[in-house]
Symmetry: C2
Subunit: 125 residues, 2 copies
DNA sequence: TTTGTACTAAACCTTTTTGTTAATTAACCG
DNA sequence: CGGTTAATTAACAAAAAGGTTTAGTACAAA
């Protein structure tokens, strides 16, 4: 296999069952069977165990031990990775489209940047 | 197949080639062969075409037409979806661990919330 | 020590993903 | 027209994902 961290994280998030489990865990720790309960009409317990393993290997959750129970909880780190990855794309959804397009035109046509490295240009239209 | 939007988005992001393509597109529009160039030592052009289709069907990019070229560009909407999905998890990576644990204890033990719905509690330690 | 509960591992099957090569479409250009 | 460039489609193969059932481990409690 051999896969980088972000691919494992996004791969883990690409499943609605796993996202529902994460959502549940925002409310606090829960054992495997607690987490499985909402899904046992759709899939078996081993299936949920597998989902949890995917989440764990992506670093999105950690599993503890308490006798025969495995209390699971969210692990902030991987979410921080997602947030950091997302950052460079922020302007693409957050800012107005006009500004975005101006910026892109300035960046993609660096003919004579006239001093500044970010080359802000006035446009006629 | 039938898959929800977020699953398609995260599934699309779960591949380093596709993430590299997105990264490239932050610099501005590019044709298929431009986007493919960095990868043609690792995979064929049709493979890149497929990656672009995955990105397009996830709404992460849009493909235009200019004669025989297909200029691709980022599409903010899907990134906004990711950002919105991520929001409830913000506190799990952003805030201090002590505060997080306090919050969780307050939420998971709603015995007598004593007025406020967010139940801030003083802790001895 | 037996029984029950919580969870995991193994073996297996099906579908999806990701790549390949070869052929095809579509548009431009001399 | 014929040739070249840009990109896609088709048919296929290998591998990964996601589920199943059966069996096994670990701990608790009777």
């Amino acid at each position: 296999m051999e896969q980088d961290t972000l691919s494992k994280i996004f791969g883990a998030l690409a499943d609605p069952t796993r996202r529902a489990i994460l959502s549940r865990l925002t409310q606090g720790e829960a054992n495997v069977s607690d987490l499985a309960k909402p899904f046992l009409r759709d899939m078996s317990l081993p299936a949920v165990t597998k989902h949890l393993k995917v989440l764990e290997q992506a670093g999105l959750i950690t599993k503890g031990r308490d006798a025969q129970w495995r209390p699971c909880k969210l692990n902030g780190g991987s979410f921080a990775d997602v947030s950091a990855w997302l950052e460079p794309y922020r302007m693409f959804w957050e800012e107005s489209f006009d500004r975005l397009e101006d910026y892109l035109k300035a960046v993609t046509k660096p003919h004579a940047p006239k001093g500044t490295s970010h080359g802000q240009k006035k446009r006629s239209k």
